[in-house]
Symmetry: C2
Subunit: 147 residues, 2 copies
DNA sequence: CGGCAAACGTTAGAAGTCTAATCGTTAGAG
DNA sequence: CTCTAACGATTAGACTTCTAACGTTTGCCG
C-alpha cells in the first residue's frame, strides 16, 4: 500500500523547478544583453528611469528590486560609463537624484530591442491560458513566502 | 487607435515576474534552511548524494546545477564541517568520489524536514490545475532559451 | 535654539557564483 | 611504446549580491 497519494512518480519540488527555470531564463537574457553591451542590472535601471518609476536612488533600488548598497555599486559603473548623471536634490541634500544622459537613452533603446526579442522568444509555444495560470501561481508563491 | 492588442494595461514581462518570484521564494527557503544550520547549496548536495543521483564531483555538480569550480568550494566547507568525505576512485584517480558521513546523514534528515515544510507552505492556496500549467510553462521556458 | 533620532547614501567585508588557467591522470593515435 | 589530447578537479580572480557600520543631512521635541 503506497503511503502517499500514490500518484505520479514524485515530480521535482515546485521550488526547484522554479529556481532552475528562472536561472536559465535569466542567464539567457543576460547573455543577450551582454551581446548588446549591457547587463541585466543596467537594463533594469535604465528601464525604471525611462518609465519614470524612480528618481532617487532609494526609489530606484525598490523599483529594481535590489538593496541600496548594491545600487550604489552599479550606479558608480553606469556613471563612469556616462549612462547616468547624479545630483543632489536641492531641497533635501540627503537624496541623490539619478538622470539619464543622452548616451543612457541610446543604451535604453538598444537594450529594449533585445528585451522585446527575448520576451518574444520566451513565449514561443506558450498556451495563453497556461501563461495566465502561471502568473497567478507566481504571485501566489510570492504571497505564500512573504512576511 | 491603440497600437497593440489594446488589452490589459501592459502586465510586467513574464521573465521579470519569474525572476522576482524565484528570488523571493529562494530567499525564504535559504532563510529557513539557515535557521536549521544549513544553506541552499548544502541542502542540494546532501539531497543529490542521499538519493544516489551522484557519486563523483562532476555528476554532483550537474545534479545540483552549478559549475565544478563552485562545487569544489562548497565541498571544501562541507568536508571541513564533517558532512562529507572525499576519496579518489581507485580505477580512475582523476575522479573524486563524495560520500556522506553519519553527520551528513543527520544533517540531511534535519534539512529535509525544513524542505518539506517549505514545500507545504509554498502550495497553500494553489489550484492543482494551475500548478500543472505552471510546470508545463516552466519547462517550455527552459526549452525556449536552451541552446 | 540644541541636540537627538531618523533617513539617504556610501564603504567595508562576506558569501556565492562564474570563467580562465593550471595540475595530475588517463586514453588513444601513430 | 610514447606522446599528445582529453578529462576531472583545483586555484585564481572577477562580478553580483547581501548585511553591518558609518557619514551626512534633516526633522523634530523639549
Amino acid at each position: 500500500m503506497p503511503d502517499r497519494t500514490s500518484g505520479p512518480p514524485a515530480e521535482p519540488p515546485l521550488g526547484l523547478q522554479l529556481a532552475a527555470a528562472a536561472r536559465e531564463v535569466g542567464r539567457a537574457f543576460d547573455a543577450a544583453l551582454g551581446a548588446a553591451g549591457g547587463s541585466l542590472s543596467t537594463w533594469l535601471v535604465l528601464l525604471a528611469l525611462t518609465t519614470g518609476r524612480a528618481a532617487s536612488q532609494r526609489e530606484l533600488a525598490a523599483a529594481v528590486g535590489i538593496q541600496g548598497a548594491t545600487l550604489t555599486h552599479h550606479l558608480a559603473g553606469m556613471e563612469e560609463a556616462g549612462l547616468v548623471a547624479r545630483r543632489r536634490e536641492p531641497t533635501n541634500r540627503r537624496v541623490q537624484l539619478v538622470e539619464l544622459t543622452e548616451a543612457g537613452r541610446a543604451a535604453f533603446r538598444r537594450l529594449r530591442d533585445v528585451a522585446v526579442e527575448h520576451d518574444r522568444r520566451l513565449r514561443v509555444g506558450l498556451d495563453p491560458d497556461d501563461e495566465a495560470a502561471t502568473r497567478r501561481v507566481l504571485e501566489q508563491l510570492r504571497a505564500n513566502v512573504a512576511g
